[in-house]
């Protein structure tokens, strides 16, 4: 049977809308047509077409779908089962050409578990040692990778923290030396591709495919996502960005609060997990107030939840960010519009405005609170059934013994 895509209009009526791009609107209507938001405003100001599917949202809160700025959604099914992990290239410390997209499993059970709690978009990120590859941004709905991709690549991931040291011969200074060599060779390769092809160049520090993949980063056309937690590593990231005129994003940024003004001055955004505070030699200054202190200094902050299986706890991360100093509005922005801006998709994502992709969540209350239930989730205008493998397990075992 051929699926017929029908023009569908949905009207979410009577709730309080948090468009993020502007102040909240009480007793509002959000009109969705053909996967896009077409109108947002006070219910009196919007005419709902007669053929629209109407959703009564009286007393509800409506926000854009949340965006998780980290994790490996679709790239890992069972952490300890290697056969289900696709998120890292083995043995290759310079893997710039590795784009994770085709490793993503659209049928992953993690996807429904995550999206029914209001997370509609996530980064899917390569893990690795030095240059780990290209992260992509995906919507958590769709039968194929093509239908899920929001942006690919969304950024080149580079590790500057403790885990990069082996690839740098055992020293952070070795890490930067090697990165500069690879960046230099990439630029050289970009200038002399023809000579490279004729084998008239000296040996380069990485393969042609990896060097070529770095060129958009070195042109500033693709962000460099640098994983850095220690203050000195963050300073290294800023230094490299100045040297090579990179569009830098700092991920982790645990000690970022210690140099928040400098990060703000550099105009560099950060991806932060608020509930990190266990000291290690990679970040002795790690603390809960980090996200708030960075935001207060004027740094653009997006939040993340690193436990991919519990990407849904991005809500709890955001609530705790508020507990430790962020304003509620800052925290909402940090899981919606700010990540959309950081990954260069704010023209399509991150707020509820006409023309934006209809990733919309209807909540029973404050999305950061544990009392709150998700009542409706729309991804690209499609209403997502609120079921997952976990809800099916619950239904099977809520009365014992179960009927198989």
């Amino acid at each position: 049977m051929i699926a017929v895509l029908l023009a569908q209009t949905i009207a979410i009526i009577g709730g309080t809308v948090y468009p993020v791009a502007g102040p909240k609107v009480a007793n509002a209507t959000v009109l969705i047509r053909d996967g896009k938001v077409v109108a947002v405003g006070g219910s009196g100001s919007i005419t709902v077409p007669s053929d629209a599917t109407r959703i009564d949202a009286t007393g509800k809160w409506i926000t854009p779908g949340f965006i998780d700025g980290g994790g490996q959604m679709g790239l890992v099914e069972i952490g300890a089962v290697e056969g289900t992990r696709e998120g890292a290239l083995r043995g290759d410390s310079v893997a710039a050409a590795f784009n994770v997209a085709e490793g993503i499993n659209p049928a992953s059970t993690l996807i429904p578990v995550t999206r029914i709690e209001g997370i509609t978009t996530t980064l899917a990120t390569p893990g690795g040692t030095l240059i780990s590859g290209q992260a992509v941004l995906i919507d958590l709905d769709g039968p194929t990778i093509e239908r899920m991709l929001v942006k690919s690549p969304a950024g080149m991931v580079v590790y500057l923290n403790e885990q990069a040291k082996d690839a740098g011969g055992g020293s952070r200074a070795g890490v930067t030396e090697r990165l500069r060599r690879v960046f230099g060779d990439a630029l050289e390769y970009g200038r002399r591709k023809a000579e490279y092809s004729r084998a008239q160049m000296q040996a380069l520090s990485a393969g042609a495919a990896d060097l070529a993949a770095l060129l958009p980063v070195l042109r500033g056309a693709e962000p460099l996502i640098a994983v850095a937690n220690r203050q000195s590593d963050i300073a290294t990231a800023l230094r490299l960005a100045r040297e090579y005129k990179l569009e830098l994003i700092i991920a982790g940024a645990a000690e970022g609060w210690q140099m928040a003004a400098e990060i703000a001055r550099a105009g560099v955004p950060v991806l932060v997990q608020p509930l990190d505070n266990i000291p290690s030699y990679d970040a002795l200054g790690i603390r809960y107030e980090n996200a708030a202190l960075l935001a207060r200094a004027g740094v653009k902050v997006a939040l993340l939840e690193t436990d991919t299986h519990n990407s849904r706890n991005l809500r709890q991360q955001a609530g705790n960010a508020v507990s430790y100093g962020m304003t509620w509005e800052q925290a909402l922005r940090a899981v919606t519009l700010s990540p959309a801006e950081i990954f260069g998709v704010a023209d399509r994502y991150g707020s509820l405005e006409p023309g934006k992709v209809a990733n919309v969540v209807v909540w029973s209350g404050d999305p950061f609170e544990f009392t709150t239930a998700v009542e409706h989730v729309f991804i690209r205008g499609r209403e997502i059934p609120l079921v997952s493998r976990q809800t099916e397990l619950f239904e099977r075992y809520k009365k014992l013994p179960p009927s198989y």
Binding site: G70, G79, N229, Y281, L284, F370, T371
Partner: protein, 468 residues
């Protein structure tokens, strides 16, 4: 092992207002662990209560974990004991008066599954002291002998309202060793932290971990190998116990030779040590109950117990508590069937669920984990009360450690382990603002003089509020 992408650390792994009640109960007697194989004191607790003024908290919402939540209530404690709880409480003139307006008061939180001190921060190999992974049965090792009181994770957990922990060996081994039951206070030695009179726990582990660790090191390499390993160890322990019990009757001749491994297991068989079993899958938990029946001991709690909801009826019948997370799942195959209603379903079945952390991060917000588990249950139609959810992080773990007559509730005579919260502890926005351990103000969020710091932190980890 869980997958972390931007890792900053490596992970190993009903409520009516009540009238005032005054203390009439005598000081609770700590449980005493007696061993007939050892006729001398062993590694005794040197714990001493820190002297502190009497404290009265007024006009707060008192969550007692005894079935009552008292709005605008008061709580008086003195010399480490709760004296009175109720709507009106008289306090001595020298009492410190804490204005509880807008605040909530709960018993100190108890985490029955922690690796603080044995897997201390900063997480280097030098502090990795939680798994004696040299033999699948190491009942002879004791977690207290690995515990580092200067672990900088300890003050973080205190600031989360934790007053008592069970520090456990890891789960590499079938039988991993004795746990340490500790008052979570700053101290120079672990002996100063040992909960006086608390029974030891014995850490056991099912499933994937032991067979993964030993599969290529002489076994066990299968779940049936795991089971044979437990049975073999307890069969030896039965014989050992009989030799000692026979000798103890008349002390005739030389005593039997001591064997530290079997001594611990014999204590389990005598009921003096509580069995704490790491186990994920429902079918395996049922097997472990059979093992316990074969050798005549009880399993006090299944830890992690991701599939406990599938056999909640069986676990309730065996009086085994279930120590669970709110939502962890999927990090390994035996953790794939996690549901957010695990605690609620076990409560519904008449069992004794509780929330544990197994994490230096999670231990800092057990209240939030209980909130998630409670509301997940309610949304699915299981009517969990606030008091039940509070019991998940207080008196239920206290029961698991055998301490429920001493800590875990706000009742006259109970040890004064008290947390004052900035708001409803089931809100994401609430924080512990004061923590009293045995009547001692061990943490005050608004007073740097009551924010303990470990030696490790000095000159190395910025102090809260500092701006270096």
């Amino acid at each position: 092992m869980r997958q972390f992408l931007y890792p900053s650390l490596v992970l190993l792994v009903g409520c009516a207002a009540a009238g005032t009640r005054q203390a009439t109960a005598p000081t609770p007697q700590a449980a005493t662990a007696e061993s007939t194989s050892v006729m001398r004191p062993q590694y005794p607790s040197t714990y001493q209560r820190h002297p502190f003024r009497p404290v009265v908290i007024r006009n707060a919402t008192i969550m007692t974990a005894t079935g009552q939540e008292i709005p605008s209530g008061s709580l008086l404690f003195k010399d480490g004991r709760i004296v009175a709880v109720g709507a009106k409480v008289d306090a001595p003139a020298d009492a410190l008066v804490v204005d509880g307006t807008g605040k909530y008061v709960t018993p100190g939180l108890i985490d029955d599954h922690s690796h603080l001190g044995v897997y201390a921060a900063p997480g280097t190999d030098a502090e990795s002291d939680g798994n004696e992974a040299t033999n699948p049965v190491t009942a002879e090792v004791w977690a207290e002998h690995s515990f580092w009181p200067q672990d900088p994770q300890i003050p973080l957990a205190i600031a989360g309202g934790i007053t008592t922990i069970q520090a456990l060996p890891g789960s590499a081994n079938l039988i991993g060793g004795r746990s340490a039951i500790l008052k979570l206070i700053p101290a120079r030695t672990v002996q100063e932290m040992k909960f006086p009179g608390a029974r030891y726990g014995l850490k056991m582990a099912c499933g994937e971990n032991p067979k993964r660790v030993y599969g290529r090191r002489g076994g066990p390499s299968t779940r049936m190998g795991n089971m044979a390993g437990y049975r073999s160890a307890f069969a030896q322990a039965e014989a050992y116990r009989q030799r000692w019990d026979a000798w103890s009757k008349d002390h005739k001749g030389d005593p039997p030779e001591r064997n530290l491994r079997l001594e611990t297991l014999a204590e389990v068989l005598r009921g003096n040590i509580y069995v704490q079993t790491h186990c994920y899958r429902a079918d395996e938990m049922a097997q472990m109950e059979d093992l316990a029946h074969e050798f005549g001991f009880k399993i006090r709690s299944f830890h992690h117990a991701v599939e406990a909801y599938k056999i909640a009826d069986l676990l309730a019948r065996d009086s085994t508590s279930v120590s669970v997370w709110a939502d962890w799942w999927g990090f390994k195959e035996e953790a794939m069937d996690g549901v957010q209603q695990n605690a609620a379903l076990n409560q519904q079945a008449g069992g004794r669920p509780l929330l544990h952390s197994d994490s230096p991060s999670g231990i800092q917000r057990l209240n939030q984990e209980a909130a998630k588990a409670m509301y997940s249950g309610r949304r699915a139609g299981i009517a969990i009360t606030r008091d039940e959810a509070l019991r998940w992080i207080t008196v239920n773990p206290a029961w698991t450690l055998g301490l429920d007559s001493i800590v875990g509730t706000l009742e006259p005579g109970r040890m004064a382990d008290i947390v004052v919260w900035s708001g409803d502890p089931f809100s994401v926005y609430a924080k512990a603002v004061q923590v009293y351990n045995d009547g001692w103000l061990v943490y005050d969020r608004s007073d740097a003089a009551h924010q303990p710091r470990t030696d490790f932190e000095l000159g190395q980890v910025p102090a809260p509020g500092s701006d270096r």
